[in-house]
């Protein structure tokens, strides 16, 4: 049996506030992985539990938005021996969280009641579509269905168009993940005061509906549903998205009543809302979104270019804040040794964002974790690997990996290289032809 040396990669920045907290994340899809990623961003040690991979493993870099700075433990919970190992590890952790339909943890005997027998002050969070109780609790769900069910789609879009989904396919997942992170930190604070753990029941349906509190309160007052409002806002004198110079270039503008005079003067037009908006629409097509935003901001009007993915990577403000971090790859990907990913979501003044380590391969840390937290020796681990109870990292795969060469390992796809593609009329990055289409999307959908 091959024995691999495992490097344990956890965020160890001394200032991170959740250092010392250990989380066992029995997670899938996007929602909970986003929540536990935030805990890792804040310094918690997050152990991601996954089933042993069948076939070749997915390329690691595709998991970097959700799996970076986590460790990977692979157990086949269908085997009762894996459940025993799970419980042994639970005695060493502060938090267990999972996002399966409720019957899954019952099926494996890993409910909160089962686990508090071995760890009385355990904090456990269960996240699913419609909650742990009620007639819809076992309904399998993905984020886009929740966006529709929780009212977001109905409130998004133009008045003359159908309900529209919030952009990206992971809005509901991310919002639910954020609430999961908050609920868990709240439970840690409570445990410190009371010495007691707790069981948290978080439904994506409820998290996303909660995010619409103001709209629900308003509807409860009037008894009526507000129409989809396009880009308008009753609190603004003028608000809209205007076409700027170029293809798919747009300028977002919000004008308050107090700013009408200054804006009318700059545009040389009357100060009624219709004239201002009509004149802005013409004015904005004559310049880049960037120039338009700067001119409006110079007179105090809230405005910004409607930034696409590339704009975000080049945005001088986000660069100043180091909102993206280069993640070094184990092997070069598409000819680069490192790619930018969203940095830790939190900026503590005067302190650097923590470094990001590539998402682990499935089972990469199994051996080290089982020795450390499972109290197992190598012979015991090898036997259970042979029986398929424990998974260890296999060869990672993917067309991207075939481009490895020593030169490319040193090239980092930083914002300067991205900016160097400015002259490209197609505004696309120059990447090898074998780049898998929609690779990152494929990962978040999986």
């Amino acid at each position: 049996m091959q024995t691999t040396t495992t490097t344990i990669t956890t965020a160890t920045e001394p200032h991170l506030p959740l250092r010392g907290v250990t989380v066992l994340a029995w997670e899938q899809a996007v929602s909970l992985p986003m929540g536990t990623r935030l805990l890792a961003d804040l310094g918690a040690r997050v152990i991601r539990l996954e089933a042993p991979a069948r076939g070749r493993a997915r390329p690691r870099h595709l998991g970097n938005d959700l799996g970076r700075n986590k460790q990977s433990l692979s157990l086949n919970l269908r085997d009762p021996r894996a459940g025993e190992i799970f419980k042994r590890i639970v005695t060493h952790v502060d938090v267990v969280c999972e996002n399966f339909t409720p019957r899954v943890k019952r099926q494996y005997g890993l409910t909160y009641d089962d686990l508090t027998r071995v760890k009385p002050d355990l904090i456990m969070l269960s996240l699913c579509g419609y909650g742990q109780t009620g007639r819809m609790s076992e309904r399998p769900t993905f984020g886009p269905g929740i966006e529709a069910a929780s009212g977001h789609a109905q409130l998004t879009g133009y008045p003359d168009q159908p309900p529209t989904r919030p952009g990206t396919i992971v809005f509901a997942d991310n919002v639910s993940g954020f609430y999961a992170a908050f609920a868990l930190i709240g439970a840690l604070l409570r445990r410190r005061l009371t010495g007691k753990g707790s069981a948290i029941d978080l439904a994506m349906y409820e998290a996303c509906t909660y995010h619409l509190t103001a709209s629900l309160a308003q509807a409860s007052l009037t008894g009526a549903d507000p129409p989809r409002r396009g880009n308008g806002d009753p609190a603004a004198l003028v608000q809209d998205v205007y076409a700027a110079d170029g293809s798919e270039r747009w300028l977002a503008v919000t004008v308050s009543a107090a700013q009408a005079g200054a804006l009318g003067e700059m545009l040389g037009c009357a100060v009624d809302p219709d004239t201002l908006s009509r004149t802005l629409a013409r004015w904005s097509t004559e310049r880049s979104a960037e120039e338009g935003a700067r001119a409006l901001q110079a007179i105090g009007v809230a405005a910004a270019p409607v930034q696409d993915a590339r704009d975000l990577l080049l945005d001088p403000q986000l660069r100043h804040r180091e909102s993206f971090t280069l993640v070094p790859h184990e092997q070069p990907v598409n000819g680069y040794g490192a790619h930018p990913h969203a940095a830790s979501a939190f900026l503590f003044a005067g302190r650097p964002r923590p470094p990001l380590h590539e998402s682990p391969a499935g089972g990469q840390d199994s051996r080290a974790l089982l020795r450390e937290l499972g109290g197992m020796n190598d012979a015991e681990i090898d036997a259970l690997v042979a029986d398929g109870v424990i998974g260890v990292a296999g060869p990672s795969a993917g067309p991207a990996m075939q481009h490895a060469d020593p030169e490319s390992a040193r090239r980092r796809l930083d914002w300067r290289l991205i900016a160097a593609h400015d002259s490209d009329p197609g505004r696309t990055l120059d990447l090898p032809r074998s780049t898998p289409a929609h690779s990152a999307v494929t990962e978040v959908r999986a």
Binding site: H15, L18, G131, T133, T141, G145, A148, G151, H152, Q154, P163, P166, G167, T168, I169, F178, Y179, G186, L189, R192, A199, L202, E206, T209, L212, A214, S215, L216, Q218, S220, P226, N231, A235, V241, Y242, A252, T254, G300, A304, V306, Q307, R310, L312, L313, D315, Q317, R321, H339, A342, F346, L347, F348, A349, R351, T435, S439, A440, T442, V444, R445
Partner: protein, 348 residues
């Protein structure tokens, strides 16, 4: 654990409200009212569960700070300084203070002085570009989504800092909070070279479509793993089982034909009939609900999601807490604002 709140907008008010939900004792310091972009009902809702206290000036804030674990504000760079409050003065009174500073673009940097709004936050953070139809301009989300998200992330950072027990300053930006919702898009771009576009990321399967009597979310699962053999039998459309519809890429390439087959079929049954059938087949269909549908949702009501809250001018129905702890919905936000003098409350 005592928390003070000097916010004028939903983002800061919501951040401190979440801390109240987590058991902190939150006091809203009433100084100069709310931001003009915030409507009265939203403002009152975001201040439930807190007490209020009128403060005359910076000196009275400094008097209260020694006793507080955290101060939340959303006045932007120089905002509290203009009131006469500096970080140095606050830390001199309370070295362990967690200071949560929310702003549009951040406390420093080339755009730190830029003005913001909900729409501008969504634009600068990258979510606006991705929302809407490909043949229409980008369109914003439901009210206050950037503000709520920024407040939620600031509350996470603040709660974590309180747990860590070390005084620090959190520099939370609304632009960057929106970016946190969008992180797959830059990732897709840096690995594929293609800028994700509106609608481009969603057309690999049906989404929100017409049923016989309204709308239905008609996605059969996750795009890459959707089983189109099963979906073909479910919809009783044999052509959907053909090879060209088996993968997300294939469906995108044959999208018009896909929609020509699927859309008329979805109009043959009511939304409720589709939902029942989808549940039998374990497909992830869903209703497209409005705010009033949600207020009447039996699932939410049975789980104790809603309560009536008495605000100064009216009584509204609001969600109590986003989660259940030990079988009980937390009740800490049941109250309206307490102790605030009526004349300081925003008029509707």
């Amino acid at each position: 654990v005592k928390v003070l709140d000097l916010s004028r907008g939903i983002a800061g008010a919501y951040a401190s409200q979440l801390l109240a939900l987590a058991g902190c004792e939150v006091t809203r310091l009433e100084l100069d009212g709310r931001d003009e972009q915030v409507d009265a009902v939203a403002w009152e809702c975001a201040n439930r569960g807190k007490s209020a206290r009128v403060v005359a000036d910076a000196a009275s804030v400094l008097d209260l700070i020694a006793d507080a674990a955290a101060l939340v504000e959303d006045r932007g760079p120089g905002g509290i300084e203009a009131l006469g409050l500096t970080e140095e003065a606050l830390r001199a009174r309370n070295p362990g203070l967690v200071l949560t500073r929310l702003s549009e673009f951040g406390q420093s940097g080339p755009r730190a002085a830029w003005a913001g709004s909900e729409l501008v936050n969504l634009a600068a953070g990258g979510l606006l570009f991705l929302t809407g139809n490909w043949d229409r301009p980008p369109v914003q989300l439901a009210p206050y989504q950037a503000q709520m998200t920024a407040g939620l992330l600031a509350a996470i950072a603040t709660a974590a800092a309180l747990y860590g027990g070390e005084g620090m300053t959190i520099d939370a930006s609304k632009q960057e909070s929106v970016l946190a919702l969008v992180s797959p898009a830059p990732t897709e771009y840096v690995y594929s070279g293609t800028i994700p576009a509106r609608d481009g990321m969603v057309s690999a399967m049906p989404r929100i479509e017409h049923s016989a009597d309204g709308w239905v979310y008609a996605g059969p699962g996750a795009a890459v793993t959707a089983d189109y053999d099963l979906f073909s039998r479910f919809l009783e459309i044999p052509e959907l089982a053909e090879e060209r519809f088996a993968t997300a890429e294939g469906r995108m390439a044959h999208w018009e034909e896909h929609q020509r087959l699927v859309l008329p079929k979805l109009k043959e049954r009511t939304t409720e009939a589709w939902l029942e059938r989808a549940e039998e087949w374990r497909l992830t269909f869903g209703p497209v609900q409005t705010a009033t549908d949600l207020l009447a949702s039996d699932v939410l009501i049975e789980r104790g999601f809603f309560a009536d809250a008495t605000l100064p001018q009216c009584t509204v129905t609001v969600p109590l807490a986003p989660y259940i702890v030990d079988g009980t919905r937390p009740q800490g936000l049941r109250t309206g604002m307490r102790d605030g003098p009526a004349d300081r409350r925003p008029q509707q």
